[in-house]
């Protein structure tokens, strides 16, 4: 079982790869919409990547009200 910190780290690494930004530019409390310059549909694309990585199903609504990596990690951790 992954720890919350591990989950968070893996999300940051995946987001960095998917959106082609250096990993060190992303911090857990960053607003990913703003930091990555993405819209809600692009954020959903990231959710698909995360599903494949963590082998869990993440309905679209898991992104509702979420805009930072840490909260996203909490939501995913709850489903692992």
């Amino acid at each position: 079982m992954r720890s919350s910190e591990q989950t968070l780290e893996e999300i940051l690494a995946l987001a960095a790869t998917h959106f082609k930004v250096p990993r060190e530019k992303l911090a857990p409390d960053d607003d990913f919409f703003q930091k990555l310059g993405i819209d809600s549909l692009q954020a959903l694309e990231l959710l698909t990547r995360l599903e494949n990585h963590f082998h869990v199903e993440l309905p679209d609504y898991e992104l509702q009200g979420v805009s930072d990596f840490r909260t996203l990690a909490d939501r995913i951790q709850a489903r692992l």
């Binding site: 809600s40 549909l41 698909t48 609504y61």
Partner: protein, 571 residues
């Protein structure tokens, strides 16, 4: 299609449609690459009537209000039909609102019944004001077996074998109460009658008919006024099929086109632009020779479809493009927010007509739409049959407020006669939008008289509704505006919320204050956030009761800082 002039209510029309088209498929629910359900009209009836009987048994009487809070899925439609069958009034609520907002609108609408998805119910139950909820009966869909539902019951178990009694409604009776905005301050519950919906349906299908065999792809939730009409009522009364996709993920939307051979789809600008981006990325990957060949074919298609779309020809000239959309797509409908003409032209050049339209909940959804006679990327189309549109107090260029008169215009705002009187004047709905009708009868939009923005996702955001998030900010005073309200004629493509900030005498905008602004802004859902701020050096004009005179302040700002781009500092 049913002759809707013969019906007095949606329940009766739907009831007949379920009989007339019994063997046709009416509803498919897909989630990613799975298909959750596929129902014929007869099976839809079998699914809905036991629920209708249960609702009647639980005390749902005519005119009782029943709210629905669900994502885009088949149970929304089944529940809606069951409510109409027993004479109820539907209150469709946006599932993306917060739990506090849901509770506020449930209270405002006085909904006695609520049908809600489990994950949303869980959030509502945990909200601080939950104890004030007066809704008597709550049915929760898709709850896990061990879930604690509080006083609520399971939707799946709400079935009665008794024969439900059909309750006939009249045309002037309320069908739905749809909130167009105002969760923060003054809720605007549009009371829409059965007549409004029946006439809207007649009007839309006169230009874009549905028939058995048509497959409509629905990605917008059914609480969205567009989807309620073209993703539910319209296809059903024509015997067509709705494919509900439970995800907005672009890869699955693309897949649904081919899997279900979609005929029509409505979307908001955000999704259309995403499809455009995906296609352009694919084109960019082509080797130079193939790219040049594709451009040549696009040019040929353009030359032959300049006056009218020619789907047969376009499908032959550009088979791969049309194949990627399933090969049977006839048109996409886009509305809800400003759409860039270049995107519309991009799709039209590929032989995929995108009908750009304009509407508002208060007018019963669509008011104008493009009819492709010929294609126009620069307008929001012509008034639909039965819609009268006029421009009130036009200036020298013919631009004034758009007013609409039609049998589709709402009856009134719920419990707000004052706002109703300001909005419906002498039978005309004053839209608050600024527009001009050209010599061909097409409507062009230029901006808004009202202080609001419409996001690319089609959501109306009123600045007053989000100001409370910034309360106590370390500045002398602040006020939030829609940028188009400050600079009305600067075009609709750049809708954004702008905070006007007045600092204390001698105060500088410190990093601390800026960080505070950013962090408060992030408490809001992404589509409600402030895009930038304007530093203002005079005290705000106020009324005797010390309320900010927003209109006067907006006029001062627009006059003293005429260039939006230089006045606004992005956040």
């Amino acid at each position: 299609m049913l002759d809707l002039t013969q019906y007095t209510c949606l329940g009766a029309a739907l009831c007949d449609a379920l009989e007339r088209f019994a063997g046709e498929v009416c509803l498919i629910e897909a989630d990613r690459d799975r298909e959750n359900c596929r129902l014929t009209f007869a099976q839809f009836k079998q699914a809905a009537l036991p629920l209708a009987a249960a609702l009647q048994g639980m005390g749902l009487r005519e005119e009782d209000r029943a709210a629905i809070i669900m994502t885009n899925q088949s149970k929304w439609l089944i529940s809606a039909y069951a409510i109409f069958y027993v004479g109820g009034v539907i209150v469709p609520l946006d599932y993306k609102l917060t739990a506090a907002e849901h509770l506020q609108l449930l209270a405002h609408s006085q909904a006695r019944f609520l049908i809600v998805e489990y994950h949303l119910w869980r959030t509502i139950m945990n909200a601080p004001r939950f104890k004030d909820l007066k809704t008597e009966v709550v049915l929760v869909t898709e709850a896990p077996r061990q879930a604690d539902l509080g006083q609520a019951r399971r939707w799946e178990e709400a079935k009665s074998s008794a024969e439900p009694r059909f309750i006939m409604r009249q045309r002037e009776d309320t069908a739905c109460i749809v909130y167009s905005s105002g969760t923060g301050g003054r809720p605007k519950g549009c009371v829409l009658t059965h007549e409004n919906y029946l006439e809207q349906c007649r009007s839309l299908t006169a230009w874009y008919p549905f028939w058995p065999g048509v497959r409509y792809l629905s990605i917008l939730p059914t609480n969205h006024a567009i989807d309620f009409m073209v993703g539910f009522i319209g296809p059903f009364v024509c015997g067509a099929c709705v494919v509900h996709l439970r995800t907005l993920r672009p890869e699955y939307i693309r897949e649904a086109f081919t899997r279900y051979k979609i005929t029509y789809m409505s979307l908001v600008p955000l999704v259309l632009k995403n499809l455009e981006k995906g296609l352009k990325a694919k084109f960019a990957e082509l080797p130079p020779m193939r790219r040049a060949a594709l451009n040549g074919l696009i040019a040929i298609n353009g030359a032959f479809t300049r006056r009218r779309p020619n789907l047969t020809l376009s499908r032959q000239v550009l088979p791969q493009i049309h194949g990627a959309f399933g090969g049977e797509l006839r048109a996409l409908f886009v509305g809800g927010a400003f759409m860039e003409p270049a995107t519309l032209q991009f799709f039209y050049d590929l032989g995929i007509p995108v009908a750009n339209g304009y509407g508002l909940t208060e007018a019963g959804t669509a008011v104008t739409l493009n009819d492709f006679k010929p294609f126009r990327a620069d307008t929001v189309g012509k008034p639909l049959p039965g819609m009268e549109v006029r421009i009130v107090n036009p200036d020298a260029e013919g631009i004034g407020e758009v007013a609409v008169r039609s049998r589709t215009v709402m009856s009134h705002y719920l419990d707000d006669p004052e706002l109703t009187a300001d909005t419906i004047v002498g039978g005309w709905l004053m839209t608050g939008d600024l527009g001009r009708l050209d010599s061909t009868g097409h409507l062009h939009l230029f901006g808004r008289k009202k202080n609001m923005i419409v996001t690319e996702g089609g959501k109306n955001i009123y600045p007053e509704d989000i100001e409370n998030v910034f309360e106590g900010l370390g500045a002398k005073e602040f006020c939030i505006f829609a940028s188009n309200y400050l600079w009305p004629k600067s075009g609709l493509g750049k809708d954004a919320l702008v905070m006007v900030l007045r600092l204390e005498q001698g105060q500088q905008l410190s990093d601390g204050l800026r960080n505070e602004l950013v962090s408060r802004n992030r408490r809001l859902p992404d589509f409600k956030r402030v895009g930038g701020y304007v530093l203002w050096e005079r005290d705000f004009p106020r009324t005797a009761s010390l309320k900010i005179k927003r209109t006067a302040l907006a006029e001062e700002i627009g006059r003293d800082l005429p260039e939006r781009d230089s006045a606004v500092v992005p956040l």
